[in-house]
């Protein structure tokens, strides 16, 4: 199968970049030919190869739609898989190509801005059962292929290494570290999560703790910069942190470290080798109580490192959180351009969940978390979900009817 993947740049550090990298490199090993169009005008030069994946230029459109058909034809692609919320597209779903969107759905009821772009798709991939159910409600058939995690990279480190991680990130070895790994987006409700953490401190005044906020505390875009997409803008968190008197209780990194992201694994360098594995290994709990998650890769990454998470009981979070804890959310707000519902995690609920984690047998929980993450290892995802899906596509794209039944004629040739 010749597959063209459109999404965040494969060499980047965003969740979608990781999805694309992991899928592409594994599908190459399965014998498929893979090409990629990096979004966000990430490649203005010519074609090149990255880990065996052919990278095409990005074009001028932020979402690569202006070059998609041209590259699709040049690559002789059998299908184009898009790894992005479908509502960002204005034209690609109107092209006569085999469009296979990953329908990343972080809200219910699912927005018409998403479903309207799926009706003419060749296949639709749902990355969560929650999303699949929402699509089904709108009479859109989909194939469930969850996001995965590289369990060979994300893994629990030894106690000694964990202490070294904490030292590297300037965290005390004996404190209870709550981590938040999230992009600064209004949907992530970081200010509300801070309120939840503040309440936790109020309920547990004797606890030595820090919130390690792995995000850019300033909005990425300037105030006068026109935005594209769905107005899920970043917010300035510093005034709120200071207003709440949480300046001491929260630690955050320098902007440049989070703007471009840090590598997944930098090797055994515990002096200045900041990476995601060491970051998660320095946490006691991963907190991601957002307004809604289409998947929530940090839940899986933390679990693979033996760290359990707490998340909002809404959208895909409960599926991806595994042995972690969900926080009730009864109220919602509408804060993006398409007008979808994002639920507000209960503040006391977050505090209680953090307390529960703090008082639990974290070693036992770590084992459970790791076991859960292994189910989502990319190798397993490809074997269990992606390969059968591509076999089905092959048969549907190149059907051969004979007296013996239906099969793919291309595989026969």
């Amino acid at each position: 199968m010749r597959i063209l993947i459109l999404g965040d740049r494969i060499w980047g550090h965003s969740a979608y970049s990781k999805v694309i990298f992991n899928l592409s490199t594994r599908l190459l090993k399965e014998g498929h030919k893979i090409a990629h169009i990096p979004m966000g005008r990430a490649l203005r030069g010519g074609k090149f190869s990255h880990s065996g994946v052919l990278i095409y230029s990005s074009g001028l459109d932020s979402f690569g739609q202006d070059v998609a058909v041209e590259h699709y034809l040049n690559f002789k692609a059998d299908m184009i898989i898009t790894v992005k919320e479908p509502w960002v597209f204005s034209s690609i779903h109107k092209e006569a190509i085999n469009f296979v969107p990953m329908a990343i759905i972080d809200h219910a009821p699912v927005s018409a801005s998403i479903t309207a772009r799926l009706h003419t798709a060749f296949k639709v991939i749902a990355v969560s059962r929650f999303g699949q159910k929402e699509l089904k409600r709108n009479k859109i058939e989909s194939t469930y292929i969850p996001h995965g995690v590289s369990t060979d990279i994300y893994r629990p480190l030894s106690e000694e290494e964990k202490l070294a991680c904490r030292k590297m990130f300037a965290l005390d070895p004996d404190e209870f570290v709550v981590g938040i790994v999230a992009m600064n987006r209004s949907r992530k409700l970081i200010s509300r999560q801070i309120l939840g953490y503040k309440r936790f401190l109020e309920l547990n005044p004797d606890v030595k703790s820090h919130l390690f906020l792995w995000t850019d505390v300033q909005p990425i875009r300037k105030y006068d910069e026109p935005s594209v997409g769905i107005s899920d803008v970043g917010v300035s968190l510093l005034p709120e942190i200071m207003e709440l008197g949480m300046g001491e209780a929260i630690k955050w990194p320098d902007r440049k470290n989070v703007a471009e992201g840090i590598p997944e694994w930098e090797g055994d360098n515990y002096i200045d080798g900041w990476d995601m594995v060491k970051l998660y290994n320095s946490f006691d709990v991963n907190m991601l109580c957002t307004g809604g998650e289409g998947a929530g890769l940090p839940y899986l990454e933390a679990a693979a490192c033996g760290v359990i998470s707490i998340g909002t009981n809404y959208a895909a979070a409960p599926e991806y959180i595994g042995p972690g804890l969900t926080v009730p959310a009864n109220d919602y707000m509408v804060l993006n351009a398409p007008g979808t519902r994002y639920y507000l995690p209960d503040i006391d609920g977050m505090a209680n969940a953090l307390t529960k984690v703090m008082n639990s047998d974290r070693e036992k929980k770590a084992k459970k978390a790791r076991k859960f993450a292994e189910r989502y290892s990319w190798d397993n995802i490809v074997k269990r979900y992606v390969n059968p899906f591509l076999d089905e596509c092959e048969e549907e794209l190149f059907p051969l009817y004979t007296s013996k039944g239906l099969k793919s004629w291309r595989q026969q040739i």
Binding site: V69, E95, A96, I97, A116, T120, L400, Y401, T402, S403
Partner: protein
Amino acid sequence: MRIALITPWKVRCGIASYSEALSKTLAEKGVDVYIVRLPRFGRKIQAILGQVVNKIPVSEVDLIHVQHEYGLYNGLDAAFYGGLKRLGKPIVSTMHAVGNLAIDRAIVDVSDRIIVHNEFCKKRFRFKSEVIHHGCKPSETMPKKEAMKRLSIDDRIPLVGYCGFISAYKGLETLIEAVSKIPISALLIGGGWHAEPGTQYIATLNHMTQRLIPHRCKWLDFVPDENLPMAYGAMDVVVYPSVYATESGALLMALSHGKAVIANRLPPFREKEKLGALTTFRGVNSLVKKIRRVLKDEEFRASLEKGARAYAEANAWEKIAEQHLTLYNDLVR
């Protein structure tokens, strides 16, 4: 015999359903059918159609059979056929619509054989062609009582129905108006959008049913194949009010389920009326009269149902596939 069949595939499209039924039956007769998928939706450019041509497994097949309808080729028909010609294989084209002289000529120039579905199309096509009827799949329906129960409709209500894609040329407003004049009856509309999702036309029809026949119309949306016996089982009479048609797969599906069918008096449907397969109407008042008669006159309804079954048997896919096979053999001999 090995053929490449160029067609839309596994999409909501009458031609895709046609091709699937034909391919299955041809395969049962020993023909290997290599499906070459043609995009059904979206903006088509020459390069995309060129990619379709390039995918044809030329060395594997004896001939190429194209399922043609103007909308599928976006005015690029001549260029597409030019690409096919270069492959040097015999070409058969089935014209699902006819009448665009320039395009028809371009297709005739390249095709070795042309298939049309009925005498009306043959006459309108103006070039040499052969009639091979659209196939039917004789099928049973669900018992009326059970079907009505599943649809949550009182089984004492006489039910008028429509089942098929919904587009402006399907003339459903005539049907809604007619049913509004028969207060004892109700209307069951099964069918989703055709070329455009959630068309304005469907919204207009919905509004019309709410205004003219409130609480007397049920919309089923797109009816998957497995639910057709239920939908047809519930209907006492099926109406096809299309304002234009060269053939109708949906109408043939109703005949295949042995239903009493009333269709607009269009040439392709008149041909079937002459064979006793259905009855036709002209204008709303005529339709009202015909519906009333079918609902009241059991003998008339039974004769239409019998005629429908006879038509479906005479044009069962097996016979249609046999005719295709004869044509293929003539061509590659």
